[in-house]
């Protein structure tokens, strides 16, 4: 166990490191400037649980209807040896009739991640050289912050003309050729994680990583019906972003060096797993790590409500654009004091102050 690992383990405390999924890794690109998020992720802290423990539970939640719908659609596409999927691929991508192989690399139960990953690797590397078309649930591995993590394999790898494509089955509709751009973006970045992991896997086997295409196959319900539609999505941009953010994970040590060595968010569960650390303790620990809060965090980071509370009184809490408009002044009180000339600006604030004064003057003049 390296110093870094030890350091992160201490920070995380007794809890097991959180399992990574394509989603958690994709989330790292959402607010890469936030040290708090970076440190917690690197340490594998369960941010959701932590948020609850400090009294600001995340407000995500998924409707049972959505889950049911998602599973039902996926099952429908995969039913009867992926009959529907094959039809789509034949129609849209000219998949030859002979290509119908389907291999489920689902866990064999008591199988270890390493074994299962090996099985996936074997199947796919064979396919790269010989035969095979569809590979369901291959367990992939990826380096995150210097640690190898396994990804929940929620994908199908699909081989066409010697190239692999990641197939992503989503249940949001494509209506008249358009889909919710936010949902597509999420699907794209998650698929990019799989593409990256598959490329790494092939590379380790001495094969050409480019064998894995940057065009992923997105399968969604068409219009208001259940019949599927296939769209190719180019994830090259997502790949560059991912690579860069993953490489930045290495810089985590620099962040940690700014923190007290004994810093921890360990809930210290007692025999019955009830946390003995008080919300105040944990909150205080969190405050030690700088956050880069913006309202957008509320929709994608589990501890955002804690950070929002902390950021109260700051212009950034009103939105990135608002801070920009207010001349980059960080605190609401300062901004207003400068606007009302009840506070002398520092040389740095001179220009912003002038703008704020002018704004205040106009607002007063007109509202009067």
């Amino acid at each position: 166990m390296s110093d870094l690992d030890a350091r992160l383990a201490r920070l995380r405390g007794s809890a097991q490191p959180k399992r990574h999924t394509a989603r958690t890794i994709a989330a790292m690109t959402a607010n890469p400037g936030c040290s708090r998020r970076a440190v917690l992720d690197a340490a594998g802290v369960d941010k959701g649980r932590l948020a609850t423990q400090v009294g600001f539970p995340a407000r995500f939640g998924q409707s049972r209807f959505a889950i049911t719908r998602g599973n039902a659609f996926e099952a429908q596409i995969k039913a009867d040896g992926c009959a529907e999927l094959l039809s789509l691929l034949r129609e849209k991508l000219d998949l030859p009739l002979s290509e119908v192989g389907y291999q489920d690399l689902e866990s064999l139960g008591n199988e270890s991640n390493a074994d299962r990953h090996a099985r996936a690797r074997e199947a796919i590397t064979n396919a790269a050289t010989e035969a095979g078309t569809l590979f369901d649930h291959p367990l992939l591995r990826m380096e995150v912050g210097g640690r190898a993590v396994y990804l929940e394999p929620d994908l199908i790898a699909f081989r066409l003309a010697g190239r692999f494509h990641v197939v992503e089955i989503k249940s949001f509709p494509v209506i008249d050729g358009q889909a919710d751009p936010a949902k597509v973006a999420a699907a794209a970045i998650q698929s990019a994680v799989y593409v990256l992991a598959m490329r790494t896997m092939l590379e380790e086997q001495g094969l050409d990583p480019a064998t894995v295409s940057h065009d992923i196959v997105l399968v969604c319900p068409k219009d208001f019906a259940n019949s599927p539609a296939v769209t190719l999505v180019d994830v090259r941009k997502q790949l560059t972003v991912l690579r860069r953010q993953l490489s930045r994970m290495a810089r985590i040590e620099e962040l940690l060096d700014l923190l007290p060595d004994d810093l921890t968010v360990d809930p210290r569960p007692d025999a019955d797993g009830v946390p003995t650390a008080t919300p105040e303790e944990l909150g205080a620990a969190l405050h030690r790590v700088d956050a880069r809060y913006a309202p957008e965090c509320l929709s994608h980071c589990e501890i955002a409500y804690f950070c929002r509370h902390e950021a109260r009184g700051e212009t950034s809490a009103l939105g990135r654009a608002v801070r920009e408009d207010l001349g980059g002044i960080e605190s609401i009180d300062t901004a207003l004091a400068l606007a009302r000339e009840t506070r002398r600006p520092t040389p740095e604030q001179e220009e912003s102050a002038a703008l704020l004064r002018a704004a205040a003057r106009l607002r007063a003049e007109v509202s009067a």
Binding site: T21, E84, L86, D104, E106, G109, H137
Partner: protein
Amino acid sequence: MEGVAEELERRIDKLRAAVRQAIMAGDRTAAAGLRRELREAERAWDEAVAGLAQQVVPAPRGAGALLPVREQVHHALTLLSVPAAPRLIGEVHRAFFAGDIVGARLTSLRRDEERSFRLAPYSRPYYLCAVLSADVLAPARGLLAVSTWPLERRIVGPLSPRVDFLTCAIRVAEHVERLPEAGTSASRLLWRFAANIPGLGMDPGGAATAAAVAAARAELAIHAEADRSHRAAGAARATEQLDDAGRFFGTPRQRANLPRTARSDPREGAS
């Protein structure tokens, strides 16, 4: 009675709020407890109201419910002649034998069959058994077969899902042909097959059965040989490595399939 019902309604509303509160606070244990209370209250309410309007017409179940499930499944599988998933088995039964198979019973079916076989081997004329994957000889997820079928048929290689799908298509089409006139569920079933066989359009009217058979045979010809050899190889290994029970149900070591966890991740969007 009235009073009771109203009392219960108030209680139900309180409990609902409490459960959601607990969920949002991330306290799953408390939520579970409250949820139990809630279901209790709701059941009580149902009875109270049922008492008021003394008529509870249970939803009509299919006539097929009269036969034991294993026989219904056996009928369907025999018609298809190849391993199939519960969903397809259900549809086939609905289409040709009238009546729904109770899905819930299907899930436990394979376990019951295995238990009965292990307690008293071969005491039944047939067992509904697992299908083994040709590579690791582990039970393939969610497929059922009939023990009296040749071992090759109960082994699946990479091409088998497609081969069996096409075989099913042929069998279904032929069977529809034999019917005096096909019911809607039968023709819908046939259409679902036709939709995914090359050369047959997505014609909602339903494809001509003869055409379906021909098209399916045409594609089948492409895969049949390779598939047969995979299955044969698997069967050979199974014969030398596994005992009877193992060949029917897989060996215990290889059985249990863990549920996938990805879906239950609360962060996943509605997609």
